[in-house]
Amino acid sequence: MSSENEHTGDTGHGDNHHPAHLAHHFETPEQQFESGKLGMWVFLATEILMFGGLFCAYAIYRGNHQDVFLYGYGALDKMWGATNTVVLLASSLTMAWGVRAAQKGQQKLLLTMLLLTFMGGVGFMCIKGVEYKAKWDHHLFPGTMNAFYYEGGQPKYPEKLEHAIAYIDGRNLGGEAHGGGGHAPAGHEAGDEAAPQEDSHAVEHDGSQVGDEDARHLGSVSPVIIPAVFGAPADVSTIKPPASPADMGVNDAVIDQAGAVSMPSAQHTQVLWNDLSGAEQKKVHLFFGIYFMMTGLHGLHVLIGMVLIAWLFFKARAGAFSKDYFAPVDIGGLYWHLVDLIWIFLFPLLYLIH
């Protein structure tokens, strides 16, 4: 093993002086520095394409099932998302500042900046934890854990579904700043007369055609369906029958009677459970699958970045870096910035759906 001289640089080539941090197969520190950077950039390209797959899944489901996303995003908290964006941006700033400190040989400042960056990661993960906790409380974890999970065409967890619908409908009506269960104060133009029991039904149907047709069909549905569909009694004041033929009729009727085609989702900003067609209702859990895959993989990258920064911190404390050798800080920084960069795209796509 004495032969593996990464750091000894004494393989007998070159009479020019070979600094200790220069690996034996590089000629100059610049060549080594640029190689490391190039390697990291290539690696970042792979990261972009890996996340790209998730963005692709996102684009396809959002593109083809607009309302599912408009509905599901109601469970997310815009303000937590924005706060996390600021936290991550700030940690990017401190990281860039840390690279500057390393380049200038400011040892103390470098340590401070690395620590602050690490704390940024901690802050981000804590906020993410708070958000995930809320999802857990409202049965919104992905896959079979999700309240919107259907099995054989039936909701797997009727009670949880009921709860989740109330939660998201409430948030969608009251805006994301409200907690769960918020209700809109006014605006039941059409829904009121035809289906007075529908406390939480679409309030901002300003396209009158849609509203009228909606109301006509909704009015024709008996709440009695609910137990039949859910297999359990449901709270009629908050839940409307999902997946019923009436919902199928909505869109058709819009075309038939109005003569013009209108997309309900373009007409109002808040989508409620009953605005979704039967098939769309069965796709709501997909939104959470995508949300958790995207934020989960991103969170994993934050964790890896934090390990990297901790490693840099201890190396820096041991005095490994100097004006002439700071490549690991710079390259580690690139990784951290990429994690930030991906969040910059995740944030509007997940939290700011409109």
Binding site: M1, S2, S3, E4, E6, T11, G12, H13, A23, H24, H25, F26, Q31, E34, S35, L38, G39, V42, F43, A45, T46, E47, I48, L49, M50, F51, G52, G53, L54, C56, A57, I60, Y61, P142, G143, T144, M145, Y149, Y150, A279, K282, K283, H285, L286, G289, I290, F292, M293, L297
Partner: protein, 574 residues
């Protein structure tokens, strides 16, 4: 010019080195000196052992498959194979998955690329030796996961893991996807390393267009490895989440879209076909130049066609999905772009043929493999054009026609170029010559055996024999029996190659520094190279300027005339 003169001043040129010299193999001893090595040559050798073992495993699956199909044809022994359909499904899955992920993709880049790329650059190592070692460990971890799959109930999805079957079968899909995921990392790390190495460690005097064509091919391959493999990674991650958590993205029962899985899968796996074939094409370019003793005809065309294949390869994935419910519009677009891939491939073939024209061809074993490559790749490539045609593909999809087509490319072409490359660089890697007669016999068995096995499958497929079936109608019996006999011949040929190699390691004559007269930089060092690759910095000239190497009968190899090389180099600059 000034570079060359500096080198001349720096002293005499390498030449022969005595038997007392250490080389990279005996440089240090002990298992740990191998397992913890950062030397690209040793990592290449460790890859060689692992990859060839995987090849053996995947190949034995193939022989078992062919044997089962043969026995189906014999009514009197039919009971033997009764109830073996599940086994058949598992075997073709493992055959495909092992050979694709663990043999074809890493074979040339990870073995020959690792071994030769830094040498061709006159460099001491790849840019990131530690990542290189990590890549080997990723490979071993992925292989271990596949071994686990093998022992824990197998896998019966086919190597493509198509949903929704893969999310509903009870076999070890999660472990297999994780295995392929980790193997993907190994592939990414190799590609990343090669890109950085080619960019940063080219020696003074070697511009991009003075690089050997093998390096162009590896560079193009690395682009694909880096850009496509991450998409496979996320696909497999999603599939794993799908099987474990049932997130539903690919599962129609949960509102997901199974065709989307195919988009994801083939966005990687079609470019991956070029990961398999491009490095092989690079080898062929080297063999053509050396064994025709000629400058490669159309150097820049061959170089750019590698890049063109790599980039176009990303635009044709939908031709695997013509019958999968893909939209008519996408079908038409993908069919059209698919034809365009034929152009850079044909450019290569024509340039190789033009290189041979009026060349002084020596039919050494590596060159025989190069010739076999041209034959097999032409058949494989042209039938690919058939299949790219939308209407014909509707008929031939999922038949033995497709099986024959991709075996001609992925086995016929890739395997012959790999074995050709191994024979070509074998003396450099181990410092031993092999038995030329046995090597030629093995070549004949492989070439004949391969064509016997697979050519008839074109016919069976066009008659309607579907792929991946454990059983068939009586009228297909002849084709299957014929093909199985061919596969035995092929297998015997491959074992003779293995015997030939092992024999050479033990009894082989000591190899000269340059047995073939090639001028790429790996021939400018001893065989096998020392730990630090070169005793002194090699002289960088035109890669295929071979006139400065003179044959010396006493060592049955070529000796470098440095003054002549400098003179020739100066002539080429004026």
């Amino acid at each position: 010019m000034s570079v060359i003169q500096d080198q001349v001043k720096s002293g005499g040129y390498g030449g022969q080195h005595g038997p007392g010299e250490t080389n990279y193999i005996n440089h240090s001893k002990g298992v740990l000196s191998w397992l913890l090595t950062l030397d690209h040559k040793r990592i290449g050798l460790m890859y060689m052992v692992a990859v060839i073992t995987a090849f053996l495993g995947g190949g034995l699956c193939a022989i078992a498959l062919r044997t089962m199909l043969y026995l189906r044809a014999a009514p009197d022994v039919a009971p033997i194979t009764a109830g073996t359909q599940d086994l058949y499904n598992q075997l073709f899955t493992l055959h495909g998955a092992i050979l694709v992920f663990m043999f074809i993709i890493p074979a040339v880049p990870a073995i020959l690329g690792n071994m030769i790329l830094p040498l061709m650059l006159g460099a001491k190592d790849v840019a990131f030796p530690r990542l290189n070692l990590l890549s080997w460990y990723c490979y071993m971890a992925g292989a271990t996961l596949f071994l686990y799959v093998l022992l824990s109930g197998g896998l019966d999805t086919g190597w493509t893991f198509y949903t929704p079957y893969s999310t509903s079968t009870t076999t070890s899909v999660a472990a297999a996807t994780m295995g392929a995921f980790v193997l993907g990392f190994s592939s990414i790390l190799t590609g990343l390393n090669f890109i950085a190495t080619i960019h940063m460690l080219r020696p003074a005097g070697m511009g991009w267009f003075k690089m050997p064509l093998f390096l162009w091919a590896l560079y193009a391959t690395s682009i694909i490895q880096v850009l496509a493999t991450p998409v496979l990674a996320i696909t497999l991650l999603l599939l794993c989440a799908e099987t474990v958590l049932h997130i539903g993205i690919f599962d129609p029962a949960l509102g997901g879209d199974p065709v989307l899985f195919q988009h994801f899968f083939w966005f990687y796996s079609h470019p991956a076909v070029y990961i398999m074939i491009l490095p092989g094409m690079g080898i062929i370019s080297e063999l053509m130049a050396t064994f025709c003793r000629r400058q490669v005809f159309g150097y820049s065309f061959i170089a750019f066609s590698s890049i063109a294949i790599a980039l176009l390869g990303f635009l044709v994935w939908g031709h695997h999905m013509f019958t999968s419910g893909q939209s008519a519009m996408a079908n038409a677009v993908f069919s059209l772009i698919t034809f365009s891939v034929a152009i850079p491939s044909a450019i290569k073939i024509f340039n190789w043929l033009a290189t041979m024209y009026k060349g002084s061809i020596s039919l050494a074993t590596p060159m025989l493999y190069a010739l076999a490559f041209i034959w097999l790749f032409t058949i494989g490539g042209l039938t690919g054009v058939f299949l790219g045609a939308l209407s014909l593909d509707i008929m031939a999809h999922d038949t033995y026609f497709v099986v024959a087509h991709f075996h001609y490319v992925m086995v016929g072409s890739m395997l012959t170029s790999f074995i050709g490359g191994m024979y070509y660089w074998w003396p450099k890697m181990f410092g031993k010559m092999y038995n030329e007669t046995v090597a030629k016999i093995a070549w004949g068995l492989i070439f004949v055996g391969f064509n016997l096995t697979f050519f008839i499958q074109f016919i069976a497929g066009s008659q309607g024999m579907p792929r991946r079936y454990a059983d068939y109608l009586p009228e297909f019996a002849f084709y299957h029996k014929f093909s199985t006999v061919g596969s035995y011949v092929l297998a015997i040929g491959l074992f003779v190659v293995l015997f030939n190699w092992i024999h050479s390691l033990i009894y082989g004559r000591k190899a000269p520094q340059n047995p073939w007269g090639g001028n790429t930089l790996e021939w400018h060092t001893s065989s096998p190279p020392p730990h630090e690759n070169f005793h002194e910095d090699p002289l960088v000239t035109e890669p295929y300027e071979m006139r400065a190497w003179d044959y010396d009968e006493s060592i049955d190899g070529y000796v470098f005339d440095k003054d002549k090389a400098i003179e020739l180099d100066q002539q080429s600059h004026h």
